[in-house]
Amino acid sequence: MKSSNWETPFLFAMGNLHLLLQAWKTRKELDEDLREEVEQFVGLPVSKEDVLARPMVEDSWFVASRILLEQDRLSTSITWLYGVNSGRWAKTLKFGALGQKPLEIWPLGGTVKTGMHFYLGTTNARAIPANEGAPAKLELPNIPNRHFSDLIEEYADLRGRNPWHRRQPFIGLIAPGKDGTLLDAEGNALSCSASAAKIDAFYTLSGGHPILSCAEWDGHSLNLLSAQSDGQLIDFS
């Protein structure tokens, strides 16, 4: 780790790994949902057919952010979709060989009407769309305004049910605050872990005003993923 403050994150990561190993040893005693998630964390594969056999959640899904990760000789495209009616988050993953961007049909900022089959798990947002070819409309849906207090409450609940749950997306009005913080529409602040270039971009897009933004919360800081400006959703990932 390059950071000079590596000790605490490293210790916490080791603590959580230890907890996972303990859970693996006693997985037969766990509830089915949590056991499934522990098995997925450890790396046991889940068949796509099994997921598609599960009931689906019908909604209009707003493509709120897309992250491209390139590691372990694999390109992974992670898309967060927000269910406009259900308020539920779905995470889809697509994979490609390193250097080859996985093909994504739905553009950032688009809204798609389809069902979503969720993986088994207490807090699992990972899902497979029922209709991957559904057309996307490039118009901003009505997204109810949520606040950081909602996010923190939801996150505490998720961590209580699944201690390995890491990142929870948030969509709502966010403004830049002083000292590298982000503010919600009620003026509450959370720290921001974005790079200087992302902060420059977010400052400029907002002009100091709250703007519709998507970010990931890991219990310690928010990472900006996208924000709306000039009628477009701008990618920050």
Binding site: F12, S149, R159, T181, Y203, G208
Partner: protein, 469 residues
């Protein structure tokens, strides 16, 4: 991330004894009491979960709001092209894009403002245009983030920036200071001049030449005898742009070597090198293969801006270059004119000078405007035109006959590199692009340079159709 209460135990080792630290969160008290130091990892997992889940919100402090900018935004499709240009694709189109956007009084998409400011950090020559393009939003961002000092006002940089800033910061500060309070800025230059590095002195002269005043003579005059050649050259050039005493005495010295009799100009170089000339930056020792008197003559005559010559000799501007030079010193005179034309260009003299110095076409066209260059190129043979078009890489405001050479040269494979093909594509006026693409599409086969030329034209079309109304 908050510091863990367990870090010390983790770093020292759990086998070294010691007690469990105090419980970090009252919600954990029950379970924490049952843990021992050897159970470091479960304790760390618990602590992390309680820290992440038990976040307490605090009130934040808002930023000042950016002033509004009523100008319309560059349309999104054109904005996408600008993003491409800033990434280095079709980078040669940057100038035209910015010119067209400013001509339509458009402002940059907010998402591109930081990238444009970064571009301005590297390219001083486009800063004035970028300042307009990013407008209020850019100035607000620069002030808030304490970066891109070239965009900030003098106050934002702080007065001590002149004393302690980097060379780039100091130059920007001085540029602003000269705009705000010229006499005070000149005093500051005078105070620090002797201790500055030669490269900074040259840069300071260049920055000052944007807002030159007769009052600048006080610090430029001593620079004429600076120990470094580049500083002397910059000071000489700049002092000849203001009504300085240097300009007056240079004229007297030149006149002493010239004698106009009807249409004949007699030139007689000085017999000896006057030691006083040394203080004005003249060098006594000639370069190799040059006679001393010719060398002195050339230096003396070069120090009279070309624009001063007609009035100095009492001839009409159009007559100057048709005067007969009745001496053996014609070459020195011509070289002095050429030097002067490069340093102090007079666009109306260029056609006459091109006839005398056809081999120096680039030097003569360099300092004059694009439009003036095209006027001159229309009169020249095709083989001289093509390299100049590559150098210009900018479209004229109206069609010019010299542009016919572009497609002919491409089809005859006389364009040898992609940058040349791209530069030539930038020379066509917007209303000629479609015709050129049609001509290319009618050909049975095209070479790779023509392909590159067409690609650049298509890229230009993709943003011009949104920027030109």
């Amino acid at each position: 991330m908050s510091e863990s209460v367990l870090t010390s135990i983790a770093l020292l080792g759990t086998g070294r004894g010691g007690e469990m630290p105090a419980c970090p969160n009252e919600a954990l008290e029950g379970v924490w009491a049952s843990l021992e130091t050897s159970q470091l990892l479960p304790a760390a997992a618990l602590e992390e979960c309680s820290l992440a889940s038990g976040r307490v919100l605090s009130r934040g402090e808002s930023l000042p709001l950016a002033p509004s900018d009523d100008r319309e935004l560059i349309p999104p499709a054109a904005g996408d092209c600008l993003a491409q240009i800033l990434k280095g694709n079709h980078a040669a189109c940057f100038g035209e894009f910015i010119d067209q956007a400013l001509a339509q009084n458009l402002r940059a998409p907010n998402a591109l403002v930081p990238l444009l400011l970064n571009y301005g950090q590297r390219h001083r020559e486009v800063r004035a245009d970028l300042r307009r393009l990013v407008g209020e939003r850019g100035a607000w961002l620069a002030q808030l983030r304490g970066r891109w000092d070239w965009l900030s006002t003098r106050e934002a940089g702080g007065d001590d920036l002149w004393g302690v800033g980097t060379p780039e910061e100091r130059l920007t500060w001085m540029e602003n200071a000269r705009r705000d309070d010229l006499p005070a800025a000149i005093s500051l230059i005078q105070e620090c001049w002797k201790g500055e590095e030669p490269a900074f002195k040259v840069a300071l002269i260049e920055v000052s030449s944007e807002s030159l005043s007769p009052n600048d003579e006080v610090w430029l005059e001593p620079a004429l005898s600076d120990s470094r050649k580049e500083v002397r050259a910059a000071a000489t050039k700049t002092l000849l742009r203001i009504p300085s005493s240097f300009r007056a005495r240079s004229r007297e010295r030149a006149l002493a070597c010239l004698n106009l009799k009807r249409n004949s100009l007699e030139v007689e170089p000085p017999e000896e090198f006057d030691p006083a000339w040394k203080n004005d930056g003249l060098r006594e020792k000639p370069p190799a293969k040059t006679g001393a008197r010719a060398w002195w003559l050339r230096q003396l005559l070069t120090r009279v801006p070309l624009s001063d010559w007609p009035e100095m000799l009492g001839v009409a501007p159009g007559e100057l270059f048709s005067l007969k030079v009745s001496s053996d010193w014609q070459e020195a005179l011509h070289l002095a004119w050429l030097d002067s034309a490069k340093e102090h260009p007079v666009p109306s003299f260029v056609p006459a000078l091109v006839k005398i110095f056809p081999q120096n076409l680039s030097d003569l066209l360099q300092p004059i405007s694009v439009e003036e260059s095209y006027e001159i190129l229309d009169e020249l043979p095709a083989d001289l035109v093509l390299p100049q078009l590559v150098r210009l890489a900018s479209p004229p405001q109206k069609n010019h006959s010299c542009l016919k050479v572009i497609l002919k040269s491409l089809f005859k494979e006389k364009v040898y590199s992609r940058p040349e093909a791209q530069a030539l594509a930038l020379c066509l006026p917007p209303d000629r692009i479609a015709d050129a693409l049609t001509s290319i599409s009618k050909r049975k086969s095209i070479n790779s340079m023509t392909e590159e030329f067409a690609r650049t034209l298509e890229f230009r079309q993709s943003y011009l159709k949104h920027l030109i109304t």
